[in-house]
Every structure is written in C-alpha cells, then in structure tokens.
Symmetry: C2
Subunit: 432 residues, 2 copies
C-alpha cells in the first residue's frame, strides 16, 4: 500500500474561524456535550485519525469569544471515548502549569478508558495570562522549554514504571501484583523531583501518543527528541517543505527514523461543491468578523503591542517574539511576500487564528492537499473547521471520498489503537 | 413525604474487602472500564444518589492490592456519565497536591458533561506517600487543613465567576459574552494566589456538590463550614449518634440549617437471603485474608509503627494519630469496648478497611440501617460493597426493595441533578 495521509480534527472553540459560531445553524457553544458528541461521531464517520483538543488556562471574556468557555480536555475526551470506537483522542496539557505525576496518570487513565486511543499535546503554553491563575510568573521561552523537556521525560519514565504483565490478580495464590515488575522512577532533576511508580498500570499503547506544537528552535528540538506527531503552522508550500525537511533531518542523529514523526500542518478548509460556493461561504464568514479587537489579536499573535499602528497601514518589520514563534514567523513572512496591510493580516488571523485557509471546490481542496502531501510538506493535516458541524461535515462528505478514491486516505480503520492507525510502533518498556 | 435515606456507592478498588477480588466471579481489576460501567449501571438501577470514588496519589505494589492500580477519578467519572442518566458522580481530589484553578475547572467540566451530577470529595490526603510524587514534603495535619480551607473557598469563588446567563452567543449582534456578568476572583491568600475567572461557564448545579471525609476537629470544622455531604467512619451506634449530633450542632452558628449537611456513614453490607447465608459469605471473604501485611496495614491505619507488636496480643493503648483520625479513633474505641486482640482489629481492618461491617439477612440489614437512620445517627449511608458486582447487586436487589417498601428510600429519581436528588438547594452566585 502506498503512503497515506493522516488527518486530525483540531478543536478549539466552536470552530477555528473567530466568528464561525455566527453562521446560520452553527454550533454556538463549546460547552455543549451533545454537540461535541455529534462532532466526534462525524469525525469518526470520516475515519479521521484523531480529535485534537487545543487548550488555554485562562478565561478572558474580552477575547476569543467562542473558546473562552470550554470543557477541560481530559474530562471531555473521556466522555467522547464512550461515543466513539476508533478515533484517537488528543488533549492539550501544559507542561508549565501542570505536574508530571498527575499528567502521566491522567493520560494513562484516558488510554485505559479509550482502550488505546489517548494522545497528549505537550505544550509549553504561550499565554502569560495563565500564570496568575496559578500564583506564578510566566517563565520565559527558554525556561518553558527546559521545563517541558524534563516534564516529558518524567512522564515517559512514569509510564514505564509498570510492566505490561505486572498485574497477576491470581485468585488461587492471592498474589495481585508481581513486585519485580514494578519500579519507582526516583527522578531528581532541575525542575522536578518525582518518585513514582504511578498508581495505574501500563497504558494499552505503552505510551499514549505524544503531540507537539511548538515551532521555535527549542520547540523543534523537543519535538524531534520526544514527539510522535507535530502540529505545524503553515501559509506557504515552499516554507512548509523547508520546515518539514528541517524537522525530519534532525531525527537520524537522535536515533529515530523519519517515519517516526508525523507532521500535520493545520489547515482550515472552506469547501464548496464548486469554487464559487466555497468563496461565497468564506465571504459570509468574513462578513461576521468585527475589527474591534483586531489590534489586540494581532498584538497577541505577533507578541508586540500593535495598538499604535494603523489597520490600513503596512505590516511593519517586527521581531519574531518568544510567544507564538511559529504563528508570528509564518504570518510575518507571508505579509512580507505579499505586501499585506495590517487589516489583511488581521483578517487572516481572524479566519483561522493564523493557520492556513484553503478555500475551493472539494476537488481543488483535495488537489492542494495532495500536492502538499506528495510534495514533501506534510504527512497529513490537522483539519480546523471554520464552524461546526458544517465545516467538518463538508470536509468529511466532500473531500474525504476524493482522497479515498485517489488512494490517499484509508477506507477503514486499520488498527484498534491510535498508534496503530498512525502506523507508529508501541514503545517497549525501557529498562531501568 | 417523610424523610428518606440517601445512599452512595463508595468505590475504592475492586471492593472494600481487601481480598474481595478473590471471590469466585468477582471483578478483579479496578482499571477495567467495562466492569466499571456495569457497576455504575447497577448502582443507577438501585436508584442510588451517587457513586463516590476514593483516591490515593501513590502506587505501592506491596499494599492494598486491588486498588493500587486504578483510573484517575475525573476521567473515569466523565466516561461513566455517558452510561448513566441520574446518578451523581463524586471524585476525590486532594487539596494538598492539586491546584484550585485546575480543580475548580475540572469539576465544572464534569458538571457540564454530566448535566449537573458532579461532586467533589475535598480531602486533605492522609497518605504521606503521595508527597515524593510531587517533589514535596507532606504538610502536617493542621497545615493540611489550613490549606484545605483556603483551597475550597477559592474553588467556590471561581465557580461564582461567571453568572448563569453570562453567555449570550447572539448571532445577530455578534456579542458572545456579556462582560458585566463575568468577574475575576483576585484571590491573594496565605497559600494561594488565584486571579480567575475560570475558562468555563457556571456549572449546571451552580456549585458541584462538596463531599468531605475528615473526622478530626479541623475536619469537622471544615465540613460544617463548606460541605454538602459528609462521609463518616462508624463502628457503634451511640458513638455515631454523638458524632452526627456534634456535626449538626456546629451548623446554626455558621448560618446553616441541619438539613444542609447530609451525613453518610460508610458501611460494608454483607447480605444473604438468610442470616446464615450472609455469615457464610463473610467467612468465605475472611478466608481469603492473608495476615502477611497485617501489621503494616494496622501501622498505616493507627498511625503508629506496630511491627514490634504481637498479632495475638491485646490492642495497646495508642495515641490518636494525625493521619487517619477517624479510623484510628473509631477502631481504638471499639477495641477498648470489646477487648480486641490485634488480630481481631486487623481482620476488621481487612474486612472493610476500618469501616463498619454489617452482616445479615436482607431484612436484618434493612432493620439496622433503619434503626441508625431513624435513631439520629445518619441521613443515609455510603455503601461499600465487599466485592463487585455481587456485593452491590445483593444490596440493590435484596435490601433496596425493603427500604422502598418501608418508605425509607426513593422509588424513582426525583430530580435531574445530584443536588436535587440530595434535596439540596442550588447555590446562588455570591455577590462580588
Ligand atoms: C499549531 C500550534 C498549536 C498550539 N496549541 C496550543 C494550545 O492549544 N494551547 C497552548 O497553551 N499553547 C498552544 N500552542 C503554543 C505552543 O505550545 C508554544 O507554547 C508556543 O507556540 C511557543 O512555542 P514555539 O515558540 O516553539 O512555537 C500552540 C502552538 C502551535 C504552533
Ligand atoms: C471515610 C473517609 C474516607 C476518606 N477517603 C479518602 C480518600 O479517598 N483519599 C484520601 O486521600 N484521603 C481520604 N481520607 C482521608 C481524609 O481526607 C483525611 O485526609 C484524613 O482522614 C485526616 O483527616 P481527619 O483527621 O480529619 O480524619 C478519607 C477519610 C475518611 C474518614
């Protein structure tokens, strides 16, 4: 079988378009469990590899309307596990504001509950607004990645505390656990001191899948060393290809093969039966965008206070900030290439929060995804519907069948765990 | 309608009897999601008020065999919410090793997911073994309760950050949130500094139900001030009555009515069609108990190193420790009253980990529960099946119908939320 795409559904709010909830008939609440079940079932009907929940650790009523209020990802995904059978379930949990024992335990629990479908998006957390909710100061970029590296190692170490067959539960002898098959971790590091073992047996996947979404140099280094799947930000094929190659090129020196890391750029497809229908839909979506918070959103994404700038002036020459590295880099490069005004940059940010917007007929969308996939820029894509459930349904009903006909996407789930569906090996338990 | 009992199902391991998993046909894994779904559905068939998950934050392969490996409670209960419609879902989360923002958020999330059935058992955590998993030292008893008091206040404050109607999601105007209906908490206390607001809207129950399980003086003070339901440890009617009255007597000075706190002693019913059948079952259970770890378990429960004592000698005169106050007090009192040997104390500990064992025919069990309930020692009970699912099925099929015939227990769920079923008011949002 030739190489096939992997597809994730990225969920953050009622859709990735900032005002998508205003579309007629769109889901307008991100804390409506019945709506989330419906969405998960559509994604599974489309045979997608996984649902990938973004997250943030603060509630700002002035920004990001439709994703300010939301479920906590692990509780939501546990619930969705009960309404799906195959699709992977990825939750974002910050390495800056969580602790490794609880995090390792919760993902092992989700992996048991879902019978091997859990994934952890280990983010350092780009939003300083989280810090005061935890009585903390937001560490700087380098420090966040130093913490993250140690955090991920501790979590993986904890996941290896119990052997797969440590639990005997032998009614005859009364022996429940073979103590020789359990070990503590006894980690004493710079940022964490964690004894272990966990209070949950080894996960069905051995290790839940590790997702990573940082695009900076330390972000890429962490991904290359620890991640199974990388969620990237793209706007341009040549740039995406260079990024993809740079990441894969890091792997051999780390003893990993290129296939061991799956790179999925984020994309917001706006799909119509015809190109005109798609562009009309995008125009309708953009008609709901309100420029009131434009400079605030740009300030957040660019990491620079933009309040003094004119929306109708050019995008200025800004330094790449240490907050949203990939978003700022990719967007500033695009602005330079295309000579954008700030208003254009804002509109693009509002459309998909800085991710790639791909608008066209189902055939055109499939063509472009195929071009990127075959062209060495992606191993698949993180689909970011503009609004729900329509944006997802359009993709599942119109684009997926084309990809399937072209042999580019599965026609049935191959495995029972997320690792199997991603074509990733189950990690053996590391020796002590 | 006359006053009726409330009944919880306490779940910690494959049953409350330390070797219950060895019974023929018993569930022998506490990390088996299908088994847990079955148990939850039996409890709901029995119209129980709630499932109450105990928890611990360390894995000790040498102790407590059947509950060393387990699900993380919030992920498990979110999954169970999808297979039940009425029963409450209570999770233990420690105030010593968690943070208030994450805890408030997770329970609000479970409350949304379950449509108003979440409860939080706020424990200070009696096990010092947890500390090294979090790079911490275990605070002493007084300090743990000082932290717990502030923690619970912060969580309740966060739950009141959003008004019930703060989310407008008005497609026409584009206004999603009414900012006047959201406020931060700006808590700056001794142990926590938490800004808020949460990133989830107000919970269906206003506040998820607060459970509490500490029996010491500061434990009772915290319960009286903040809890909706108290889980108590009992061995003797007169002592339980005195405890019950003492707790209720604290309430008026705190501006609360006695009915606002529901007291549920833990009880392990061993039920037969006849008394003989019940005692035969208990004997069978006790036959599986292995005295190897007897002195270790007693050391843990009594908070004193017992390794130098003789299992066949008398229970010595021990001080009440600052670890498991209620267990030690209730058990040491019982030992004194009955002139127990250490082996007897161990057997009772092994039977239900220090909780009350009530063995008899279904009529006898119902009689005793009625006597305690009418006698002013309880508002209902936390049922702790010796093993699963049989121990629970016996109670639901044999005892519940008797309680119903006597008008002592519901014949249908009255409300849709846990608060409604417990007869507790929905807390209004506190003014800023
Ligand atoms: C595609 C993408 C998705 C992200 N999703 C989240 C998220 O859901 N929650 C979060 O706190 N941070 C998220 N981040 C932030 C990153 O984890 C990271 O903290 C930030 O981008 C800085 O890392 P970098 O400089 O390596 O890109 C995301 C970043 C990218 C690029
Ligand atoms: C009935 C009962 C159940 C308890 N369940 C738990 C539990 O599941 N997890 C936990 O960490 N502590 C649990 N505890 C411990 C208490 O929360 C508390 O930390 C300890 O008992 C000391 O408090 P006290 O001295 O007020 O009793 C329980 C205590 C009691 C009495």
């Amino acid at each position: 079988m030739s190489r096939q795409m992997h597809l994730g559904l990225f969920l953050l709010g009622t859709g990735s378009h900032v005002a998508g909830w205003r579309m007629p008939g769109a889901i307008d609440s991100f804390q409506d469990i019945d709506a989330m079940i419906r969405v998960a079932q559509i994604a599974e009907r489309g045979l997608l590899d996984m649902i990938f929940m973004g997250d943030n650790l603060y509630g700002d009523p002035a920004a990001h309307p439709s994703y300010t209020v939301r479920f906590e990802p692990l509780t939501l995904l546990s619930a969705l596990a009960m309404h799906t059978r195959h699709i992977g379930l990825g939750a974002t949990v910050s390495t800056t504001y969580s602790d490794p024992f609880t995090t390792a335990r919760a993902f092992a629990s989700l992996d048991h509950i879902s019978k091997g479908r859990a994934a952890w998006n280990a983010v350092t957390g780009s939003s300083p607004q989280a810090a005061p909710n935890f009585g903390r100061l937001h560490p700087n970029h380098a420090e966040r990645y130093a913490i993250a590296g140690e955090f991920v190692d501790v979590v993986k170490g904890l996941w290896d505390g119990w052997a797969d067959d440590a639990i005997e539960a032998d009614r005859a002898t009364g022996r429940y656990i073979d103590p020789a098959k359990v070990r503590s971790l006894d980690h004493e590091g710079t940022h964490f001191s964690v004894k272990g073992p966990l209070n949950i047996g080894r996960a069905p996947q051995g290790h839940p899948v590790i997702l990573q979404a940082g695009g900076s140099e330390p972000g890429q280094a962490l991904a290359a060393r620890t991640a199974d799947v990388v969620f990237s930000v793209v706007q341009d094929l040549a740039e995406a290809k260079a990024q993809y190659e740079a990441l894969k090129a890091r792997l051999p020196a780390l003893g990993r093969r290129p296939e061991e890391v799956t790179v999925l750029p984020g994309v917001m497809p706006v799909v119509g039966r015809t190109s005109e229908e798609a562009f009309a839909k995008l125009a309708q979506l953009m008609g709901f965008v309100d420029a009131t918070n434009a400079l605030a959103l740009l300030s957040d994404r660019f990491g620079t206070d933009m309040s003094a700038y004119d929306l109708d002036g050019p995008v200025p020459d800004l330094p790449i900030p240490d907050t949203y590295h990939s978003f700022a880099r990719v967007m500033l490069n695009k602005a330079r290439r295309e000579g954008m005004r700030l208003r254009d940059a804002y509109n693009l940010m509002a459309a998909a929060r800085g991710h790639w917007v791909l608008c066209g007929s189902a055939e055109e969308v499939a063509d472009t995804l195929e071009e990127w996939f075959r062209g060495g820029a992606a191993d698949g894509f993180n689909i970011m519907p503009s609004h729900l459930a329509e944006g997802l349904e359009d993709f599942v009903e119109l684009v997926v069948p084309i990809l399937q006909r072209r042999g580019l996407f599965r026609t049935a789930y191959a495995g029972t765990t997320l690792r199997e569906n991603l074509g990733l090996a189950r990690p053996p338990r590391r020796e002590a």
